[in-house]
Amino acid sequence: MESKNVLVVGSGISGVASALELANAGVSVYLIEKEAVVGGHSASFCCKATDICSKCSACVVFDKIKEAVIHPQITLLTNSTIKKLSGELGNFRVEIIHRPQYVDEEKCIACGLCTDVCPTDPKAIYSPFAEATPFSYILDEGLCLRFKGEKCDLCLESCPTKAIEFELKAKEQELSVGAIIVATGFDVFDAREKGSLGYGRYTNVLTGLDLEQIFTREGYLRLPTNGKEPQNIAFIQCIGSRDEGHGYCSQVCCKYAMKLAGLIKYQNPDTQVTIFYIDLQTTGKGFAQFYEKYKESIRFVRGVPVEILQSSSGELEVRFEDISQGKVCRDNFDLVVLSVGISPRKNSWDLARILGINLADDGFFDKKDSLSCNETNVDGIFLAGTCQGPKDIPDSIAHGIAAASKAMQMLAESASRRRGN
């Protein structure tokens, strides 16, 4: 039986963009997501506007997610992953597993009554982060007393719309779709792997993603240790990019580092900001103006530091080679931000096995050939976004729309071939 609908795996910005384009073109879309909330990493990025918009597209992500969640043609399945795939282009059968979601996102109205009555500390049922869509409460099995054998259902009683349900088991479902768009996104490079930089040991060493989430949730930057405003900040580029394990430039770190630096300088002009870099990537539409404006006020040092030590006073001492003087220097900073790059998903290997698509040598999914941008070696399965390689938000959206376009073209062709004309 010829199926016209499409399965989009992963609801990051490129998955959402593909789903929206197909839905607006009348195709019915299954959008599955392994987490409880839609949006992936880019949903938690902050707006980096100073007196003018710094073109980071975080608000476009916000708008598109909102549009996708309420779109009638898109069936959203959170907490679900692919188990098995069979069939071929135009007639795929996909088996999906739903992890039990104890709070039904349709019913939950985020009133917070359950959190008030919950006896555990930290609370087992809590409000999602600011950027979460659907904005429904999350129940953590690890903390909840009921999953430790106790008969506690205080939250179940207090819930006005009966959204909480404990006796849920993982359930399976089979979908028949015409094409599949893989938009599983990326893993943020774990900065702990670079032990000498002290991420995870020193609280004032953050990653780029941490800084984004601080601005999204608090709106301004305070030192994690003492809550004061940092006076002296360092950004270290190429963490987990352009090194032995990652033979590629993650394309996003220089841009988000400079835009965050611009935001910090705008909020507090006398903060000193230093960016340690290998090659400054100042490309992209609209970035020339931004770079001209902040070129003078940010100190750029060529060369990536190797070690960060925390002195007794809590200040971070960064050891780096100052190339212009040709000797090793030590500078003190209140805060160090490691601009972590984009790495392939840890579980991309077993998804590739299920779908039968190849992995490229750098760990991302492989394109069919150098002249195609979404097709994979399996007809009918397309790649969208950072699962195929590092991209920034506008490129991920464009890549998602392109994947939708290719899926739609292939469906149109296979349908006409079947009709024999």
Binding site: C46, C47, A49, C53, K55, F62, K66, A130, G219
Partner: protein, 128 residues
């Protein structure tokens, strides 16, 4: 109740930011009254003057960030109109009550709250 602040909120940026501020239970003064408009460029000088005539303590126009307006020139036009409005008020020596424009994006609830707090501070200082 020392009079209300009337805020014309663009439905692409300021209105969703106000909703997000609500979801995060961020608090701001109660005397704010939000009027939803399709774009900051829809707000006309007469709307602001009529609000002031009705006794508003201050009038806010909240639009998208400069350069990120869904309708390209909506927020710049609004900025011009607010400037023109302030000039009109100065002509009649009624410039004790602020008319201000703020730019923000839909995922910046903190900017919405700080805009409202800033205007409330200005009103208190001018002793309205």
């Amino acid at each position: 109740m020392n009079g209300c602040i009337v805020a014309f909120c663009c439905e692409h940026s300021a209105y969703p930011a106000a909703d997000l501020a609500g979801k995060l239970r961020l608090h701001y003064p109660e005397n704010l009254r939000v009027i939803r408009v399709p774009c900051a460029g829809r707000v006309d000088v007469i709307h602001i003057l009529k609000a002031l005539e009705k006794g508003a303590a201050a009038v806010l126009v909240l639009g998208c960030e400069d350069g990120a307006c869904h309708h390209i020139t909506g927020n710049t036009r609004a900025k011009e109109r607010v400037k023109y409005c302030n000039m009109l008020l100065k002509e009649v020596q009624v410039d004790g009550r602020p008319v201000a424009m703020f730019n923000l994006s839909p995922n910046a609830p903190h900017k919405f709250v700080s805009a409202v707090n800033e205007i409330t501070k200005i009103i208190k200082e001018s002793g309205r």
